[in-house]
Structure formats: structure tokens, C-alpha cells
Symmetry: C2
Subunit: 480 residues, 2 copies
């Protein structure tokens, strides 16, 4: 049963998304700052969980954090030709300080390859300084035309890794390490979002990159969302910024660089992959609160005995389960159930006077709303039960999302099938078309090549457009 | 013995500071971005430690994090009159996007009272919405005239808390809670920096505040550094931004707000309180690395046996001591000792073939350079020994800093004594002067009232300037 305030997905998916953002209290429109949002506490807590899981993996793979300036001299942005072309239309310029014109304007970083490249050129002298493996958590500003909370906002938060290597092979290994061990592992195991990993086409790659790898996820309307990218920048930025080093033979070499990032749009992905018509659904591993306890009582005597049971039961949870006891006196249990369902807390535990007497509790899992997900559990062994249930919910959400993606992925052998596929989900097909062909498909079907996936077929087949025999398969989809 | 690359403190304190920043590899000048720095990995790791310790305390006292826009419509900044006056000279303005003029310029936040006030006015309806307790970790930009790494930079990183309360008493309680339980506790117990807590004078308070409380620390040149501030904003911002609520009688009331912040200048304080002519000195609780192990060997056989001992000893440390094993083969032990001294690692453990044979290790504490701080310790019980030693170093650094402050604080009964005092440290004195008198002292002696400390005398005395009887004592000092 859909909730008041939430448009059902089937009726209007875009509106459903905006309703979830509002009703779960994740963000507010900053209408006075074009295309920006306020990350409200509930939404920001999800970002903190994402940061913490990613930061752990970024450091475990040998990277350290640093922080580079927000403002980039405009002339610096212009140094790498393709990069300029990609970002110039979107940059905000600082031209005055307290009314006085600056001699040279600054741009607010839309990404930091240029300013970081400038410093790397200063810092790197010898092969002993390599690899240089730095990550930055930062805000960036891009003046996008159409914005939507979390998915595309003028200002957003992200991490951007920038690394320098002595050889092309090292840079390529780094690019793939991030894709698999940092992003892929985090997205699938913590966020329960199945991803397709692959290479971007020349048309879709990052402005200035040699190769861009990406992780693509399917939303519940069948569209793709690019969840993260990892770029092998080759020597493009190293040449533009003069990042060189003397090798073991004392010869000056041009370095190889990479960059990679994920952003607060991951919050949008999280919402769109798991949530339902009742509100937000959060995977337990990423949920800031995993279990909410709602005590139920009608008078002071009942309150005392219920709260004593709550205190006894939750005493064991500290450090094992992230939980909250909703002890607000002025609100009914029904109001509270509704609120925590909207906010996506994975498990609700209800404890009333009957539960105290029978030494049970009611446990409701958010991923199965209504009677189906509710059960009565003995108080003895409750902690272990909840921990197992959290793991089960995590696994279920991943499995459900994977099944959805598989059911909405179609193999297309001609353009009609391609069109039908991208109206419902992902189209997988053989592809030997040109950049112009790719553009034509985009114009005609509003779909782009999301990835040349790593899992390629053993045998060739005819290109969906040209019929030409090829061994390359791609994924077409409409995208966020 | 001072180190190569570091000017002794006694010779040139300012240069000593800059030398430490450079030699400990904490920051780089971003000369192409006016007054900005790059927080290099070693420096940024200290900020991460500060963030983590503060964030814990901010949350433990009931606050949640959120994130508000970087860009503030210029008109919004102009809404609170005193605030404008305080910040207008320093703001960077975004006037163009990709060459096209904006209808209304934005400023980059110099602080966020105005933009947050705008949203709070939207969000708060009833007394049930109060208190609203939000903190933000963010970057801010202030076009300061004279900049110095960490201490004053065009862009800096900070946290800014912004809270709303139903009554003046609640706002005052919040302001003091932050001062004592968040900032005071963190600075003294984690950073080993003794602080004087007190009220700012009208002249020195935050632009737009009713009252500003601050924590002031003494640097090794006797100057004061304001380590954190907590502002009771009264109803000034609430009136300017229309932050009102309906109370329990359904009457509309104007709310009371607070704001409070500490920034990356704490890294500057940390350097200037504890470091010496050998380099950086880090208190163990804040040190990203607490113990560095330097294995010593001359050949492969020695290396094998030394590294096996290192592996065995450090296996116990995981989760208890933050440590690093410096296994770099191309560098001599002496080079490594020097590097880790410069970088302020609290304890160095040396293990060579003789130590393996004798089942000992050499332990050197950074806070007592040279022979005095070095001892030979049995391998049995080493972990416990190191943990105790870390606690002892932490305590010693605090005690030493407190002793220094006490030795450099003088009671002044006349202007000559006041002047002599501020040339060496803090001047404590009775004060009944006006704002103009305060300004005159600043002009004549380059000293300002840092705080009206909480510990006030039981008996009155004559004002250092006017001779008028007063019960109020203040601290004058030259400040960073």
C-alpha cells in the first residue's frame, strides 16, 4: 500500500524519487542557490557512511588523503585541451573580492586534475617519488543545465583520487584496482548495488582521459546510473603539466597519471535501487541506524516495565548493532512506524506490555513491508537473531537488485529490439559502429553506450546497427 | 642541537615555524592561489585526527552533521548589519559562469550563519522542532591580508556548529557546553594544549554575536592563539532571518541561536605549542603514527633475523598502537631517525642484530631528544611499556606547555608592566577601560584582550589603565 506523500513508482518514477527525498527528510532544495541542495542530517549521515566505507578501502589500497585549493587560476584550467572543452561550459568564476576586480579570475574546481597536476609537477623529481597515491575529499561546482537532488547538483561532494606512476602498466593496474577493489567491492558488498564494470567508449570517456572505466548500475525504472569512474589519463595531463621524473638511468621521463571519483550521487543510486512505494529502504551495512526500537505503552506502569525491558535488551547491542530507541512521548506508535518506514531503517523492534509478559518482541523487516516481514521473536537470543537478520536483509537486497537487472537486460540483434530494450532496461548487443553511429542512436533512442563490459563473448556476432561481424558487445541504456 | 633546515626558535620564531611546516612536509604554498596552501598528506592526516576526535565529541553531545551550500547569494550576506561589516571586506564573489554574467552574484561562504539561517527559518515551525543541533564540516574562503600556513589562509577547513533554541538560557548553556565539553576537553586531553577559557570583549567578539566565548592558548613565543570560539548569537540572526517558532501556548516567538567553530589553524597551534628545534613534536593521542620501528641490519642474514623480530613484536600492536615499520632499503638508519624526528613521531623503536641477540630494543622518545630520551628495553612486555610511555609523553607535553604558560604569565599593575608582560607572554590585570582604551592599548603595545577569563578574583583591584576599582580581570596578549 503506497504511503501518503509518496507517488507510486509505477505512476511517476521521477516524482516518486523526489517524494522519497522529501519524505525521508534527506535533502532540501536550496532554491536560492541555483541547482544546489542542502544535505539534511538524515541524508548527510548516509554520505558519512559512504565516506567511511570508501575511505577505509582507499587507505587499505595504499592511498593517503590530502587537500588542494578550491580555487583554480583560470589559465591553469586551459592547459589540457580536451579537458577545457569538457569543462569550460560549466565553470563558476570568481572575478571580484569585495567589489574589486581580480587581475586574473579563478574558477571553482569542477574537478582537480589541473591544480593537482601543477603541484605534482613540483613535487615529483625521481622514480623514488613514484607511485604517488593521493585522494581528496572535497566539494566541486559544475553549472549543470538540469539538476536533481543528489543525482546532479551544481555543488556536490565527492572523493577524487589522483595518482602518478612510472609506467603505463602501473597506471592501468591502479585504474583497475580502484574499479574492482575500492568501488566495486564497496558498491556490491556495502551498498548492495550490483554493478556492471567496463570500459567507456571514446565518445563517453572523461575529457582528457586515455581510457575511462566505469561501474554502471540499473535503477528501478530500467535506466543506468554511472556510480563511479576510474580514468587512465595516460600522459595527457603529465605532458600538459610537465609531470616528469628521472628514471633509474637518470633519464627524464614523462609520468603516467590516473584519476577516479565517486560522489554524493551514490545517495541517489542507493535510493533508486532499493526503495519502494513505502519510502526509503537502506541496506543494513550502510544504514546509519540499523534497528529502531519502538516501545509501546498506555500508562506510566506499562512504560516503566517496557522501558526496563528495552534497556535490558539493548544493553547487549552497543558496538554490535547501530540502534535508536524512539522514546518520544507525544507521538503514537503508528506515527513512529510510519516515520521509520519512510526513513528506511532496516529493522523495527516493537516492545509492548504483552511482549514483556511473554518474553517476546515483534520484529519487522523494512525490505518486506506489512505482515510478511513481521514476526514474533523470543527475547532470549534476540541480539544474535537481529545480527543474522541484518545480514539476511543485506543479501536479499543485493539479490533482488541483481534479479531485477537480469530481468531487465535484453539481448538486441536489431535496432527495433534495441529500442524496445532501452525502453525497459539495458540492451546488450554486438557493436561495431562509429562515434557518429553512437551519436545517432543517442539522438533516435535517447540511449548511450554505458559500457563495453569486461565479460565479452567467446564468439563474434553481427553489429546491431551495421551488421558487421565483431567480437565486441556493449550495453546501451538510457541514463541518469 | 638544531637540525639542518630548521632555524632555532630563539633566533627567529616565525622562520622556525615555516621551517617546521616545510621540513615535516605538512603543507606547500599554493603560490598560484593567493594565500592558499596545499594540505600535504602528513599535514592532512593531523587534520583527520582532529576531525575524528572533535566529531566524536560533537555527536556525543547530541549534534548531527549536515551540509549547506558553498555559495551564498550576496543579498543574503547583507541581512545582518554587524555581520556584513565584519565580513564584507573579505569575500570572494562569483559573478560569471563560463564567461556569462550572473544576474545576482554569489559569495563563497566566509562562514555560514546567513545561508543556514535562511534554511532554519524554513524548517522551524514549533517548539517541538527545538533545539536544532547541527554541525557542518566545510571549507570557507576569506581574503585575508596577511596569510601564514595553517594559521591564516585564504581557504581553510573547519567545522561550524549552528544551533537554535527556545530560550536565551538554552542558547547560553549550548554555547558553554561546546566550549567546555567539546573544545576544551579535546584541546587539553587530546592535543595536550592547555587553554584559558573566557569571554571576549565587545571589541573582540564575533560580528553579529551577543557574546563570544573563546579558548586561548599560549605559543612558545608567548603570543596567544585563539583555538576556538563559541558564540551566543542572541536573537540577532534569528531576527534578521526570521527564525521563529510557535511556543506551547501557540504564540510566535523569536528563536535564540548559537554558532561555534574550530579550524585547520589548530594544526598551527599544535606545531607552535609542542615542537622544538629538531622538528615537529606530536602528542601521542593526536599523532597519526605513534611509534615508528626502524630495523637496523648490514646484510641479508641480519635483515632476516631483525625483520622476523620486528614482525613478532609488532603483531601484538594492531588495534592498540598506531605504528609504522620503516623498511626502506635504500636509506641509512641515521637518515630515517632524522626524518621521523622532523615529522614528530612520538616514539622510535630501533631493532638491530644486537637487540635480537639480547632480546632488547632501543626506545627513543621524541619529546626528549638525544641520549636523555633513549633507553634499552626488554622485548618481553614491550607493548605495555610503549602504551605507558605514550601516555607519559602525552601527560608530559601538557604539563610542559602549562608550565611554560604559567612562567610567561605576569600580573600587571601599570602600563609599563603590561607592556613588559606582553613582550614575553600574557598579561593578567584588572581592567575597567572602554572600547577606545582597548584600541589604544592595541595601537601602543600591539596587544589585545584575549579573554575575560572565567576564573575571576574574589576581591576588586585598580584598573591597569584608569586606576578605577573593578572586579574584572582580563588577559592581554599579542596574538596570531
Amino acid at each position: 500500500m503506497p504511503k501518503a506523500g509518496i507517488t507510486p513508482r509505477a505512476q511517476d518514477y521521477s516524482q516518486w524519487y523526489l517524494d522519497i527525498v522529501r519524505e525521508a527528510d534527506l535533502a532540501d532544495y536550496a532554491e536560492i542557490v541555483r541547482g544546489s541542495i542542502v544535505f539534511k542530517p538524515t541524508g548527510y549521515a548516509i554520505w558519512e557512511a559512504i565516506q567511511s566505507g570508501l575511505d577505509l578501502r582507499i587507505k587499505a589500497t595504499g592511498h593517503v588523503n590530502a587537500y588542494f585549493p578550491l580555487l583554480i587560476p583560470k589559465s591553469l584550467l586551459l592547459k589540457e585541451a580536451e579537458h577545457v572543452e569538457g569543462f569550460a561550459p560549466e565553470v563558476a568564476e570568481v572575478t571580484r573580492v569585495s567589489g574589486v576586480e581580480l587581475a586574473e579570475p579563478y574558477v571553482i574546481r569542477p574537478t582537480s586534475e589541473t591544480i593537482i597536476g601543477y603541484f605534482y609537477a613540483k613535487w615529483i623529481r625521481s622514480w623514488r617519488d613514484l607511485p604517488l597515491l593521493i585522494n581528496q575529499w572535497a566539494n566541486v561546482v559544475r553549472w549543470e543545465m538540469r539538476t536533481r537532488p543528489f543525482l546532479r547538483t551544481t555543488e556536490f561532494l565527492w572523493q577524487e583520487g589522483h595518482t602518478v606512476h612510472a609506467t603505463e602498466e602501473d597506471a592501468e593496474r591502479e585504474t583497475l584496482l580502484i574499479l574492482h577493489d575500492v568501488y566495486g567491492d564497496f558498491l556490491e558488498n556495502e551498498m548492495a548495488i550490483p554493478v556492471i564494470k567496463g570500459l567507456k567508449t571514446e565518445k563517453e570517456k572523461f575529457a582528457g582521459a586515455l581510457r575511462t572505466y566505469a561501474l554502471e548500475a540499473m535503477m528501478q525504472d530500467g535506466r543506468a546510473l554511472q556510480a563511479g569512474t576510474s580514468h587512465n589519463l595516460g600522459q595527457n595531463f603529465a605532458k600538459a603539466f610537465d609531470i616528469t621524473f628521472s628514471d633509474q638511468n637518470n633519464t627524464i621521463q614523462v609520468a603516467w597519471t590516473t584519476s577516479w571519483g565517486v560522489s554524493t550521487r551514490l545517495i541517489g543510486a542507493l535510493i533508486m535501487v532499493h526503495s519502494d512505494d513505502e519510502g526509503l529502504v537502506l541496506p543494513p551495512r550502510i544504514a546509519p541506524t540499523q534497528v529502531v526500537v519502538v516501545p509501546i505503552y498506555k500508562n506510566e506502569a506499562e512504560k516503566v516495565s517496557v522501558m526496563a525491558t528495552v534497556a535490558r535488551l539493548t544493553a547487549e547491542w552497543k558496538g554490535r548493532i547501530r540502534f535508536k530507541v524512539d522514546g518520544r512521548d507525544n507521538l503514537s506508535p503508528g506515527f513512529k512506524f510510519n516515520e521509520w518506514e519512510l526513513k528506511g531503517i532496516p529493522i523495527r523492534v516493537e516492545i509492548g506490555p504483552k511482549d514483556v509478559a511473554k518474553e517476546t518482541v515483534a520484529v519487522a523487516r523494512r525490505d518486506r513491508p506489512g505482515r510478511e516481514g513481521k514476526s514474533f521473536i523470543p527475547q532470549a537470543g534476540l541480539t544474535e537473531h537481529l545480527i543474522e537478520l541484518l545480514a539476511d536483509i543485506q543479501q536479499s537486497l543485493f539479490t533482488k537488485a541483481l534479479k531485477f537487472r537480469e530481468e531487465h537486460t535484453f539481448f538486441a540483434t536489431n535496432l527495433a529490439e534495441l529500442q524496445a530494450a532501452v525502453e525497459q532496461g539495458f540492451a546488450r548487443c554486438y557493436w561495431a559502429g562509429s562515434k557518429e553511429d553512437e551519436q545517432r542512436i543517442q539522438t533516435d533512442f535517447k540511449a548511450t553506450i554505458r559500457a563495453i563490459p569486461f565479460d565479452q563473448p567467446p564468439t563474434p556476432g553481427p553489429c546491431v546497427l551495421t551488421g558487421q561481424e565483431t567480437t565486441q558487445q556493449v550495453i546501451f541504456a538510457r541514463a541518469y
